[in-house]
Amino acid sequence: MSLKKYISIFKISFAQEFAYRINFIMWRVRNVIQIILLFFLWTTVFSDPSKVIFGYDRTKILTYVFGILVVKAIVLSARAVDVAGEISRGDVSNLLLKPVNFFKYWLTRDLSSKALNFIFSAFEIVILFLILKPEIYLQTNLFLLVGFFLSLIFAILAFFALLMITSFVPFWAPELGWGVQFLVIVIFTDFLSGGLFPLDILPSFIQKFLYLTPFPYLIFFPIQVYLGKITGTVLLGGLLISLFWIFVLWIAMGWIWRRGLLIYRAEGR
């Protein structure tokens, strides 16, 4: 019975994205242009196709670049970026008054956005493929593909909690919502999860430090699994750590949410 509720939310969220078609297209264009930059950059670096740097050859690095396009579309696209604004303006009251779980609601809306972004990114990959004609590595190992899908699901859940936590800042400081979201979600997440370059080009002591955070598990880890660079027990270990982060972040999210509600003023009428 309550599944209908969430299907309805999914559908209306999808329809809403179409109301802002041009904004959405612009967003996709921005993503594609970034990939084009990375594509040419690495192609120039690997002008000799047999060269190997940082443990990558041309095929693997270009696959990483295209991987960024798809994985970002699946993991990082989120409707929940609106939450911070809704809390600042008091619009979240509307949701609190309804018999629907706040987190299930936003997760559903996120999934709707991810679905749309994924469809577009798949389409963009095909176009880029036809224009740029790169050699791409296709993973065939079933076990690794399953690991890849699992890592994506875990990344989605972890990122959701991370986004929510930063979005709750307006409960205490309404003016800081945008800034904190920009800093953590746009800047930190993009770089530290491997959204610009593969994290293994960093010196190992920095890598060790990064692996103490949830960031690498959002983009870098899934793509590495796909490329076959992480296998066997290391893969399972990584998935377990992902789960651990989901656990920690979701508990923090719930706790901060409850505290935020206690001081919520429901203002902005």
């Binding site: 509720k5 299907i7 309805s8 509307n94």
Partner: protein, 332 residues
């Protein structure tokens, strides 16, 4: 369950960080913030029976909207006990939320870029309303509010009045038993206001819903609220029938005199406070106890062709309430 709403010794405080002006002040408020406590509700209590239509009145910032928000579960009470339909509002249980509705003038729940019909469908799914019941209720509401033709137009393209009527449909399609209306007629033209009032009256009568309404519009109160609760500075000053408010507050009565020829105004001022003169009418207000004597004096000493004695109009009473002038009068 006999009472729909119970509020007992409710207290609500807000903590605010005082911001001093200027650059130095801005830094100071981050380094050593000075907290101030705003006491929005100072121990209020009242109960409401099912099906009652009650008006909450008071000056701005008195605590009316705060009360409604606590009763709908949005704000966490600092102290005291509240119960609505047997539930604790703060727990926001789904069964509770399905039975209430809070309608705030400017807070929109309709999705802006989509036709209202989409939001209605969404709400149907969220409130889990069976299809047949949904269609009946929506069709009734739509007819009552005359919005049939507007359902499939993008909400952003509608006028304020049209939007508010559709917001009402969205807010009521789950036929709540308890309805909180915060300034329902604000921003509407006179005709729209009357339609809104007629609708609220109908809804109260038809669905036996308990309705709490806050308003600054005296027509709303005179038309709809048999019972009023006056709140000022977080305290309840009066809770009872509207007429009782008038007679309790009005320490004076009005004497309307018609003069057959012009006379000295100054002399009339010795009898009572002159409120208005437009020959041949003079309107005076006179203390209750002295009204008979004043009337006798006027008849004796002035060329009176007509004289009537009336109560102070309700509007004046309520106006004074809004201005906060009640405290002194009602504190005995």
């Amino acid at each position: 369950m006999d009472k729909a709403i119970i509020v007992d010794h409710l207290v609500k405080n807000f903590e605010v960080i005082e911001k001093k002006p200027g650059l130095a002040g801005a830094i100071d408020s981050i380094v050593s913030p000075k907290k101030k406590i705003i006491r929005a509700l100072k121990n209020i209590s009242f109960t409401i029976q099912p099906g009652e239509l009650v008006g909450f009145i008071g000056p701005n910032g008195a605590g009316k909207t705060t009360t409604l928000k606590i009763l709908s579960g949005l704000l966490y009470p600092t102290a005291g006990f509240t119960s609505v339909l047997g539930y604790d509002p703060w727990e926001r249980k789904p069964e509770f939320l399905k039975k209430i509705s809070l309608v705030m003038g400017q807070k929109n729940q309709l999705w802006w870029d989509l036709p209202a019909a989409e939001t209605l469908e969404l709400n149907r799914a969220i409130y889990e309303i069976p299809k047949k019941e949904y269609e009946e209720v929506v069709s009734e509401l739509v007819t009552l509010l005359e919005v049939g033709k507007l359902l499939n137009i993008q909400v952003r393209r509608l006028s304020l009045g049209q939007r508010m009527r559709l917001e009402l449909v969205a807010a009521l399609l789950h036929t709540p038993k308890v309805l909180y209306l915060d300034e329902p007629t604000i921003g509407l033209d006179l005709i729209a206001q009357q339609k809104m009032r007629d609708f609220v009256y109908e809804y109260n009568r038809k669905y036996e819903a308990t309705i709490l309404l806050t308003s600054h519009n005296m027509d709303d109160l005179i038309d709809l609220a048999r019972r009023v609760i006056v709140i000022d500075e977080g305290q309840i000053l009066f809770d009872g029938a509207l007429e009782e408010l008038v007679s309790r507050f009005a320490k004076e009565k009005i004497i309307k005199v018609s003069l057959s020829r012009e006379d000295d105004v100054k002399k009339i001022e010795t009898i009572g406070k002159v409120k208005k003169i437009s020959f041949p009418e003079v309107i005076l207000s006179v203390p209750r106890e002295a009204v008979a004597v004043a009337a006798a004096e006027l008849l004796q000493n002035f060329p009176v062709s007509d004289l009537t004695i009336e109560e102070i109009p309700i509007e004046d009473v309520i106006r004074k309430v809004f201005r906060g002038g009640m405290r002194r009068s009602l504190q005995k």
